[in-house]
């Protein structure tokens, strides 16, 4: 019987309101027991001083396969996920070709199995080729395991099309994730305002996001809030207000925030450094403050990186010409800590809720986001072990992922995932001194160097 015992950690599992120092026994890929294990048999991880929680989940990543494997593949992305402490991720369908049929949904699962690192779940496209004109084969994709639907990268712009999509996807019970950007208002290089004017860059105003959010909320209301609707990477204080009001009427409307929007402002664009070009753009300090407050309040229901790899050649362009996007998986946890735990915005159980439980619920990932031992079969043995006090420096050259477009390079941070278990198997363990019965498992760059077919 394959077992792994994690001893002496602070086990935090918000799904069962648990926060106590104890041991965790994993057996045959499932959580078998929470409680003192007096004489552990087999491999053990000493988690003293660490937090032990359900594996972190990121519902918004871009793995570029198929089509742009030079930026990231399912395998390299899964390696980046594990290096950052994530056991499950949901990849967006803006690949080339788009993930818009059941065959491609299946392809992502197959690549995920081959990588055998983090679980990679596919989000299916809402419309064929994400063109916003015709429904994609949503029913067939759902049946094949698509865990949500999105045209991420762009919004479903046409109101009639979106109304139909919400109605149709509600049939599957899956969530609709919207990239909220009205194409006739958005599309600029940075936040619209005085700074953009001074820099001579085109603006992407808050209203481009807010108008889509408000429209979609009205469409959901028109359907008696039956659809499950999720606002991706919310960026403005005005958007927070809209989502807050909507959530007074329904829990089916949810929203996420990304680490860069919680820590950075448009001022960063002043140097024309393209690492600060993202979509939606960085906004003002007031927006950052509103987003953090929304996280504390529960208006923002989960955190997601929008991990968006691009090659160096693409980012080394003039600001207006460079693609949008930043990578996030390998430093997200430390950034969440910096933005939310260190200033006392939220506590650890809440952070685990936002980075694990709620993602599993949003995408219906059964067996994930909880360490509860259910009668019959427990939840999957996906566990992240976090040393909350470990100080380190973000170094893009140590990343496992293929791309380096990270604006946080060189930042001193505190807190890091030191071991990750997926399906009962240790996929990453940094400190050999804490391990008994097995060797350290490399992560980051060290892992990437060992991987074939990268």
């Amino acid at each position: 019987m394959a077992t792994l015992t994690i001893t002496g950690g602070r086990v935090i599992d918000p799904s069962q309101n648990l926060d106590q120092q104890t041991d965790l026994l994993l057996e045959n890929g499932k959580v078998a027991r929470i409680g003192r294990v007096s004489k552990p048999v087999g491999p053990t991880i000493d988690a003293a001083g660490c937090i032990v929680c359900p594996g972190l989940i990121d519902v918004h990543v871009h793995f570029r396969e198929p089509g742009h494997e030079e930026k990231e593949t399912v395998k390299s992305g899964a390696a980046a996920a594990v290096a950052g402490g994530f056991t499950s991720v949901c990849c967006m369908p803006n690949t080339n070709p788009a993930l818009d049929d059941d065959g491609r949904v299946r392809f992502i699962y197959r690549q995920s199995q081959r990588a055998n690192l983090a679980n990679v779940y596919p989000i299916g496209a809402i419309t064929k080729a994400r063109a916003g004109k015709e429904l994609a084969e949503i029913g067939l994709m759902s049946r094949r395991g698509a865990v949500g639907f999105s045209d991420d990268g762009c919004a479903v712009a046409d109101a009639g099309m979106m109304e139909k999509a919400l109605r149709y996807i509600a049939m599957t019970g899956k969530v609709v994730m919207q990239h909220c950007e009205d194409p006739s208002l958005g599309g600029g290089a940075m936040n619209a305002g005085a700074l953009a004017t001074k820099l001579g860059l085109s603006g992407w105003p808050r209203v481009a996001e807010e108008v889509i959010i408000q429209r979609d909320i009205l469409l959901c209301r028109h359907q008696n809030y039956a659809p499950r609707y999720h606002v991706q990477h919310l960026s403005s204080a005005g958007s927070v207000e809209l989502v807050r009001e909507a959530r007074r009427h329904t829990p089916n409307i949810t929203a996420e925030a990304s680490p860069h929007h919680l820590l950075l402002t448009e001022e960063s664009c002043a140097s024309y450094d393209t690492h600060f070009k993202m979509n939606p753009p960085l906004r003002s300090a007031a927006d950052v403050k509103a987003l953090c407050a929304a996280v504390a309040e529960g208006v923002i229901t989960l955190l997601a990186t929008d991990h968006a790899p691009h090659t160096r050649e693409e980012k080394d362009l003039e600001f207006a010409s460079a693609p949008y996007g930043v990578i996030g998986l390998e430093c997200a946890l430390a950034l969440y800590i910096k933005a939310l735990i260190e200033p006392g915005v939220i506590d650890w159980p809440r952070l685990i809720t936002l980075t694990s439980c709620n993602g599993a619920a949003l995408c219906g990932l059964t067996g994930k986001g909880s360490l509860a031992v259910a009668p019959g079969s427990g939840n999957d043995a996906d566990v992240t072990i976090i040393d909350p006090n470990l100080s380190w420096t973000i170094d893009i050259d140590q990343f496992a992922g293929k791309s380096r477009n990270c604006p946080f390079d060189g930042w001193p941070v505190k807190g890091r995932a030191t071991a990750v278990v997926v399906g009962g198997e240790c996929k990453m363990a940094l400190e050999s001194g804490r391990l008994r019965g097995f060797e350290a498992v490399p992560a980051g760059r060290a892992k990437a160097l060992l991987m074939s077919d990268y």
Partner: protein
């Protein structure tokens, strides 16, 4: 025939000059018409397939929309009642020259006719004609509103198969109607007929083709055919009406048939004796697999046969009431 009326009150008289919708018929009206049809069935099995019920009367088939079986069925029904039948088609008529529906109807009536059977692509057209003329009007399908004789022949078929023709009481029965409910006049007429006879109706289709308003009409709504199938006595598969779809209603034919098509594999979930119905024309391989359409469960050809007696009864009663 009076013996077969069973539970009908002795002083009942058919009160309708027109047959425009099943919504406006009472359950007593429907049972009376079905019982009348039962009496006309034997005409088709005689060597001389005619009765003199409408001898000397004139019935006009006024069809503004393509039809094969309904038109032929009404023609034959009128012939068997010994009426003279005039075929009028929108193509090559004065309609093509810009005449209004009301003028067309009045001109035809002016030739001295007793009944106009009208099919039109617009909802409400049959009622409009009925208000413009003095003779009887029978609706042979108006847009996506109603197709009363289809609804009647469907319940007639169910009653015959399930031996309920003595009372035409459908209490305890549950019928699923599957497919493009939104654009279907057959669905609407079936809902009224089935509910008035006491059956429960569950409508199944993609959300884009299943308006929530049907819930207000007392129907159960579902998007999951697999879940519905085991609990129903009959399943009525509607044709996907591509000609009525103004925008994409489902992602692909492949997805539609795998979610809502009645396949032999899916039939494994149904009761052994489930009735499989289809108003025709079928898109074989789309909403219904050939193996199912041609199976012993299928009532598809019986529906066509039964249509004749239903339309004889409809013509006989409405013209007789004028």
């Amino acid at each position: 025939m009076s013996k077969q009326l069973g539970n009908q009150a002795d002083d009942y008289r058919w009160p309708h000059r027109h047959l425009l919708s099943l919504e406006e018929l009472s359950s007593q009206d429907i049972r009376f018409l079905l019982t009348t049809a039962l009496g006309f069935e034997s005409v088709s099995t005689r060597s001389v397939k005619k009765v003199p019920a409408l001898r000397g009367r004139v019935v006009v088939n006024l069809f503004f929309e393509d039809s094969t079986r309904t038109r032929a069925s009404f023609h034959l029904a009128a012939s068997r009642l010994s009426a003279d039948v005039l075929e009028f088609s929108a193509k090559g008529s004065s309609v093509a020259k810009g005449e209004t529906l009301i003028d067309t109807a009045r001109n035809i009536e002016a030739m001295g006719v007793d009944a106009i059977v009208v099919r039109h692509q617009q909802s409400g057209a049959a009622r409009m004609v009925s208000q413009a003329v003095g003779c009887s009007v029978l609706n042979a399908g108006d847009g996506q509103h109603e197709h009363p004789t289809q609804g009647l022949l469907d319940v007639f078929t169910i009653a015959k198969r399930l031996n309920r023709t003595d009372t035409f009481d459908f209490t305890g029965l549950k019928v699923a109607i599957v497919g493009d409910i939104a654009h279907s006049r057959v669905a609407r007429s079936n809902v009224h007929a089935l509910q008035k006879l006491g059956a429960r109706v569950v409508l199944v289709g993609p959300p884009t083709l299943l308006p929530g308003g049907f819930r207000d009409m007392g129907c159960e709504l579902s998007h999951d055919l697999d879940a519905v199938l085991p609990g129903v006595d009959a399943v009525n598969m509607l044709r996907v009406q591509f000609e009525r779809l103004t925008s994409q209603a489902f992602p692909s034919v492949r997805e539609y048939s795998s979610l809502f098509g009645l396949t032999a594999a899916r039939m494994q979930r149904a009761r052994k004796d489930i009735l499989v119905m289809h108003p025709g024309p079928m898109n074989r391989g789309l909403e219904i697999e050939s193996a199912v359409a041609d199976s012993p469960n299928s009532t598809i050809l019986e529906q066509v046969t039964n249509g004749l007696a239903i339309r004889m009864a409809g013509l006989f009663l409405t013209v007789g009431a004028s």
